[in-house]
Symmetry: C3
Subunit: 451 residues, 3 copies
């Protein structure tokens, strides 16, 4: 896996570097530029929803255009310049130009006393306001005097940008991969998300004989998910068998699963399965949580009217690391290898779903005689026979009664004392694609039948 | 809470002191005197069931009247005098007057070799006997010679005394509070029970807009519960949504929950919820047990024909402390503050039940837009927003699908990594009354609808 | 129990010694000789199924007759002589006579480099081959030169031998006891199995008023179970309420339960109950595993078409001890006392099933008054009353609602804090036969009714 990770990391790096400096927001050119670049990786189709459109309980907001934003100090020094760091301008800020004393300016400054070297990420999407975000250290150095504030911004009727891409499979059953593109320069949350989603597409596109259809969507958080559900909710209610919100997947720490609201869907099971068996560089055991209704877009996908089987695989999740939503969530917090590894985890999860099938045995009364079909050891010797494949055959023939999928069988096999009984070389198959390959042999031998 | 506890403890003290010396039994004047005093706290209605009445498989016993009981030693010393300690006379003892040698007397003495300074509590309700209870230390000092036994007692056709009191609420759904008044001078078991039940009434009477009806009953253990079920069993089967047997609630140790036979009723859930989050002086974690069919009156309420949702919140339960059912279960074992704290625990549990509701969201598709209703942070900043109320709103809007009550949502929220995600200032609501208040806001905002 | 174990061990010893040297295989005279000896313990009925008979997906193989097998070294030394150890000849080997160089001979030799002093157990039932098993130490001493191989064996149309024995009870509901007799001289796997099964018969034959019918079957592993299911599968599907595959029950280590495929049958519950409470010489806690489809004949009984409630109680199970399937699995690994103790564990399990009943209370409203029926303490004193029987009565009267069997009640009672509440002398009944005896009292008192 090491070489694969290195290669993918090298491929990801230039995209990261190009996407990093863009000033993204709910709407606007930064978002379109971001989607444009991502389109080089996967064939995105753009959807523009006009400002003012009603989407369920929400209204698509006006578009935000920001050209310039800075403060000129009494000493004539330009600070909080969005060209230096785009977190300096409060996201979605209204335009403003004027002079004022420090005291008045302070009401428009946001800083974090507990993290004095961090610029916080602050937005004001639904209230008209202007403001600047600043490190607390710098704020403390501001002296009395007249400050000049320049924010060349406007809001106007435009549109909200969503991009989607459907990678077809043999069946119309879909896996939804959703990620968001509304945050300016922050690395783990959110730039890692769109990168993993895009490179996951590349992996899945190469998967032969795809059974499932994969739907990728990039949109702003919350309003974007609501708008997308307004467009595709009915379709997803019928076709979506699993889905994931891809976010916070860039730091090299252990993985976190936030289960879907239903909690026992194949989206949940496949993720539990993959994370519990993952043999990548990340050695920390996964954290697995039940659903809770704060967080990211799973709140929309799992709203009670849809209740879609949408979970979220993350690394260190939002809120759980101090750099979250500040300028410290930057390139030094994430690694391209971690982003690549997260991509492979998502790929393994999707493969698990794709290879998952339900079979029914055609010989339910006793085991079928495997020997005469060349499927068994010809020599009966516990000490000399350690073929993992034959253990898989036994699991399949016993458990394929039409009620257990390959994923179910795989999860079930964990509980068996396989090491004790079968020796360390005959560990149970932990990969559903391996079980699938063995099941195909049994289908060919007329022993199983796909349900 | 400290001042509230002090005040309530001071209020309880004089009642404890007046009730303590009374010689209670299954029946008789001691019981009536006890109920008379309790009537000063809550408006009890007396029910007298005549001796000989058939109640299910039982018959109401005769009434017991005891005037005097003691033994005169050969040296002319009066011992085992019930005026010194009413445990000396075996409860429900028949009358007797006579002289006998020590050997013969021994057959009528009860003591505990393992607890030589304790007078045991012994009854003989259903077999005609006389006897005295004595410390083993004193018994060892008895010398040969002639003893005079005086028991001026009689059994006669009278009645069994029950008292009940119904505190009405908006709905006929009832919470049953049952406690017993048949034990003579023992403090944790049982005097603490009637005191907590009576003072719980006072708390609930002040609760505004009570939704539930609260039914309090005081009766002798076992036969009293059977008789009460004979009277009210049909009504309780239809109306009782939760109930508790109040006993062993006077010592300052940690709480114990004995669940109802059904085990998953709201009586159980509310108690688990309150005990798991209790922030009173008692810091020990609660002990939570499944139902078992020994113990107190939950045996009758949870008999299979009724199977009522009746649990029991105790502190150190019957049998689990060495002083149980002896003269050592006295005022030094209990504190008025502990009795007051137990009252507040029961009150919190009843409030949990009272505020518990089921709601259905009116906006099931995606989250409703809270900002435009003034229900959300106007400023988007993870670091600066820590309002518990908004987390409660998210839980309610997601989980109010008509299947989850506020109590369910509260219990569900424990599993979420709220601290990690939302910071320590934004802990999930643990009180159902808080969730209720937030839900009312959402009802007013036309977002929820009470089911 | 010590004396009972000693006596049974002494009774088992001569059978072990007579059965040990016999060369068993899938078929043939060794098997018949084995069944003949076992018939001295229990009245077996022989079933012979002709070679070539189709049984589900399998065909009954030809019979194997082996008269002589050895290798003559260049130095004229006779090695791998099956008369010295019957594991030397590969089981079911074809006949062969010829001379060859060492290099050619090596292709027919099987040894274990990791266990150089062990002769492995190797079979070739379904491929025509000849071969010898040899310790790796001895193999290393073989020098170049010409070897003479003598295997006087033949395969011919004969029959497969199964023996069964039905011990009738009051109802046609059956417990299946299945064990196998196809392994040559190995002690824990398998000689312990048939011995435990046979002596279990002796115990059960003495059990008065047996409710259940017990079916014992001895056959070769796998093909024998398939053939037996072909004969009796329909009957078992209707009548078998519990079953066990008896194997690996000879070593003195702790017990292992492999649950049935269904996992929650009374076969599983009874075994969990007995193993969790076993007070025999074996002090190690039991290992309890869910079903997995490798192992022994439970694979056939639990194949999805039958899915019988068949579990397996073992001591150290197949595969989990290094001597498994080698000449080191010999008399020094097992003890007659351990075989006897395993027999008693199986007997206790069968008794648990036999005494298991479902009752319904005839007095569901409150507890019935036990005192007037002489079923209760006449003296009410917690400190002086410690009768286990009365605790059992309370459990039965509360839980016998037609939904809980005695076994269910017994398992349920584990969770109660009985020690704390009732004192150490009043532990809950852990034996279903005790609960049964108490239930019979209650039936006689017109308080319970057998469902």
């Amino acid at each position: 896996m090491a070489a694969e990770l290195q290669n993918m990391a090298a491929e990801i790096r230039p995209y990261f570097d190009r996407l990093w400096p863009i000033t993204r927001s709910l709407t606007g050119e930064g978002v379109r530029q971001t989607h444009e670049i991502l389109s080089e990786i996967l064939p995105l189709e753009r959807i523009e929803i006009p400002s003012g459109t009603q989407v369920f309980d929400w209204t698509i907001p006006r578009e935000w255009k920001i050209r310039e934003a800075y403060i000129m100090t009494p000493a004539g020094k330009r600070i909080c310049d969005m060209n230096v760091h785009n977190l300096h301008i409060m996201n979605y800020s209204v335009g403003f130009r004027g002079k004022m004393q420090l005291e008045q300016l302070q009401e428009h400054l946001y800083s974090l006393p507990d993290q004095p070297n961090a610029i916080p990420y602050v937005t004001s999407y639904y209230n008209e306001r202007w403001g600047f975000c600043i490190t607390h250290d710098q704020r403390m150095t501001l002296t009395e005097g007249e400050y000049e504030v320049v924010i060349d911004a406007e809001h106007f009727d435009g549109s909200l940008t969503l991009s989607e891409c459907v990678l077809p499979g043999a069946t119309p059953e879909e896996v939804l991969i959703s990620t968001y593109t509304c945050h300016p320069s922050m690395a783990n949350n959110e730039l890692s998300g769109p990168l993993v989603a895009a490179f996951l597409y590349k992996c899945l596109a190469k998967l032969e004989n795809r059974r499932l259809t994969y739907r990728f969507v990039f949109h702003p958080e919350t309003i974007g998910a609501v708008a997308y559900l307004h467009l595709r909710g009915t379709l997803l209610s019928h076709r979506c068998v699993a889905g994931y919100v891809v976010t916070c997947v860039g730091d090299p720490a252990g993985f976190t699963l936030k289960k879907s609201r239903r909690g026992d869907t194949i989206a949940d099971k496949a993720a539990v399965h993959v994370l519990s068996n993952w043999k990548g560089p990340t050695q920390q055991p996964p954290k697995i949580y039940e659903f809770w209704p704060s967080g990211s877009d799973e709140r929309q996908y799992c709203s009670p009217g849809f209740n879609l089987p949408v979970a979220s695989i993350m690394r260190t999740m939002y809120g759980a690391y101090p750099e979250y939503h500040t300028s410290l969530d930057n390139a030094s917090l994430v690694t391209m290898e971690a982003i690549a590894e997260s991509t492979l985890v998502y790929f393994a999860t999707c493969k698990t779903l794709d290879f998952n099938r339900i079979y029914t045995t055609l010989n339910p009364y006793g085991e079928p005689q495997l020997g005469k079909r060349g499927l068994y050891w010809t020599l009966g010797s516990f000490k000399l026979n350690t073929d993992q494949r034959i253990h898989a055959i036994k699991w399949l023939l016993n458990m394929c009664d039409g009620n257990h999928s390959l994923l179910d069988i795989s999860l079930m096999s964990y509980k068996a004392p396989t090491k004790e009984v079968c020796g360390s070389n005959a560990l149970l198959p932990s990969d559903v694609d391996f079980l699938y390959a063995v099941a195909q042999e049994l289908v060919n031998a007329n022993l199983l039948h796909e349900k």
